[in-house]
């Protein structure tokens, strides 16, 4: 608590009567790169807008840099926000867009010029300084929007799905670039994403949200390997999740009698943990798809459907084949029953 730079305490957010975030507590250290991860509509943008001061919380507090900023107007918080929609000023050139905030600070013209040039340079847009946003590609606009926030040297930079509109290639480039910038400037950054791979790759810590509630907070390692709930496990690629009762697996169609050393809760496997070809259980191949390194199978069994994967080099089992498989106990992740799992 004492070393928290951004601290959200019992934050409750609503649009009119619709409560989107009932009660949120979160502490973020200075210089951290945080990913706010969650499915569409879970309240990520809403939370960011509250931190930025664009919406007033129903109740709760927002501390930034040790100061209570719950009621500080947005233009006095020193926070940058890169909008999901860029929110560039269409009537201004790239240069003027970046200079906008600096000019408001009444900075000397020469300093504005050098800062803007530096900012444009950082995002690789120096050659487009005189273009208007409408004459730029989506990716260029996104980078321009980033530069506009960066030159303000905010205490905290919020990024709402900063990479969502880029193509796969540019996305990877920008990922690296963002990380580099963050390390170089030491700015505390919170970025929103609903792509778990992006969160894993970039963040120091991941905040996983569901329906306005924080499901789990932790390092990428923790969330990937030790998801704390069925929802978190599902989100991080445990595609086979089965309830367990008295060491039996309960699937959607029935149960599987086996000896798992868990009494209750759920057992979860990644597809890559289940291989097809040998093992004590049987099922019919319903679908095969090639995914680069591995070949993925959808298998129908007596107790339900499972997803498995073999190395791509292994022999292919055609659709309709009866195959054997194993659910290895040692690679199962055990989720004890917790409150809001359904």
């Amino acid at each position: 608590m004492s070393n928290a730079f951004v601290s959200l305490q019992k934050l409750s957010l609503a649009y009119g009567q619709t409560v989107v975030v009932p009660e949120l507590n979160l502490d973020i250290r200075e210089g951290e790169l945080i990913a706010l991860l969650g499915p569409s509509g879970c309240g990520k943008t809403t939370t960011m807008r509250a931190i930025a001061g664009l919406m007033t919380p129903q109740s709760g507090k927002i501390h930034i840099g040790g100061v209570d900023m719950t009621h500080t107007p947005a233009n006095k918080r020193g926070i940058g926000l890169v909008f999901q929609s860029y929110a560039l000023f269409p009537h201004l050139t790239a240069f003027e867009n970046v200079a906008f905030g600096l000019r408001l600070k009444k900075m000397p013209v020469s300093e504005i010029k050098s800062r803007v040039e530096e900012g444009l340079n950082t995002v690789g847009l120096s050659h487009l300084a005189d273009r208007k946003p409408a004459e730029m590609s989506g990716g260029q606009q996104q980078r321009l929007s980033l530069a506009r926030s960066l030159v303000m040297e905010p205490k905290v930079l919020l990024l709402d799905e900063p990479l969502s509109n880029l193509d796969a290639r540019l996305r990877l480039d920008m990922r690296t670039e963002l990380q580099r910038l963050q390390r170089a400037t030491g700015i505390t950054m919170i970025f929103v994403t609903h792509d778990q791979a992006e969160a894993l790759a970039l963040a120091d810590r991941i905040v996983l949200m569901k329906d306005g509630v924080i499901e789990q907070v932790g390092t990428p390692d923790e969330l990937y390997n030790n998801p704390a709930s069925k929802f978190a496990a599902d989100f991080f690629g445990f595609e086979n999740i089965f309830a367990i009762k008295g060491s039996n697996i309960i699937g959607s169609n029935g149960s599987l009698t086996a000896n798992f050393d868990a009494e209750n809760g759920h057992l979860a496997w990644r597809p890559s943990a289940i291989s097809v070809g040998s093992g004590p259980f049987q099922g019919t191949v319903m679908g095969v798809s090639f995914a680069g390194e591995q070949r993925e199978y959808v298998i129908k069994t007596d107790f339900g459907q499972i997803k498995a994967a073999n190395p791509a080099a292994d022999p292919v089992y055609e659709i309709g084949t009866l195959v054997a498989f194993d659910l290895p106990s040692k690679s199962a992740w055990h989720l004890p029953n917790v409150g809001n799992d359904s």
Binding site: N75, G80, A87, L88, F89, P90, K105, S149
Partner: protein, 259 residues
Amino acid sequence: MTSKWTSRLIIGLTLTFLIGPFFIIIFAGMSAGDFMTFPPDGLSLKWYMKVFTVESFRESFALSLFLAIFGTIAALILGVPAAYAISRYNIPYAETIKTVVAAPIIVPGIIVGLALLRYLVVPLSFTVTLALFMAHTALVLPYAVRVVSSSLNNLRSDMEEAAVLLGCSRIGAFMRVVLPNIQSGVLAAFILGFVTSFNQVPVSLFLSGPGVRTLPIDMLSYMEITYDPSVAALSALLALLSVAIVFLAEKFLGFSRYV
């Protein structure tokens, strides 16, 4: 390709019906004779010249121009904030407010003029000019709100939020970010308002007094007395003025999408 010719014929006939009459008044005003006829008895520009020498035309033109310019400016001063509030905020009674502001479109102008005369000019000794000014402002207001609203709705509100986060005040964000991006809408609203106000007749039927008459009313009363082609000439001039304004507005603003 008969359908192509049918289509041209339909468009041609409709346009002739809509626009043809203006060519007729242009020529009727060029008559060399003293009475309106068509085709004119000989050609001259004397009626066009005469228009400028008629004292009452000059005065009423000045009044109409004053009302159109300042009435429209007043309507924009009231209308732009209202349009902004309606498009950005979730204000209570928004529907009622919209209905009230739009109401002058439905109320026939002649009734407006009469009502203002009976309840403002006579008992409260408002001057006729002031009453006219208010009536024109209220009449232009719905157009101003509508046109500016549609510009605002095309503008994402997160731009203002971005500006505020970069340090602008709320008013600053409006001036620096919103206004520059809706200026063609505001200009279009001004032109539409100006033309509506300038051409407005019924409101001023009752709202006129000694020396205070709008141009269309003056033309009507001139026609009752004299049947010379000067009204045709004046009509033609006004039509040409409107055409010029609309042409320029269309060229620079793409005006017709705002109508």
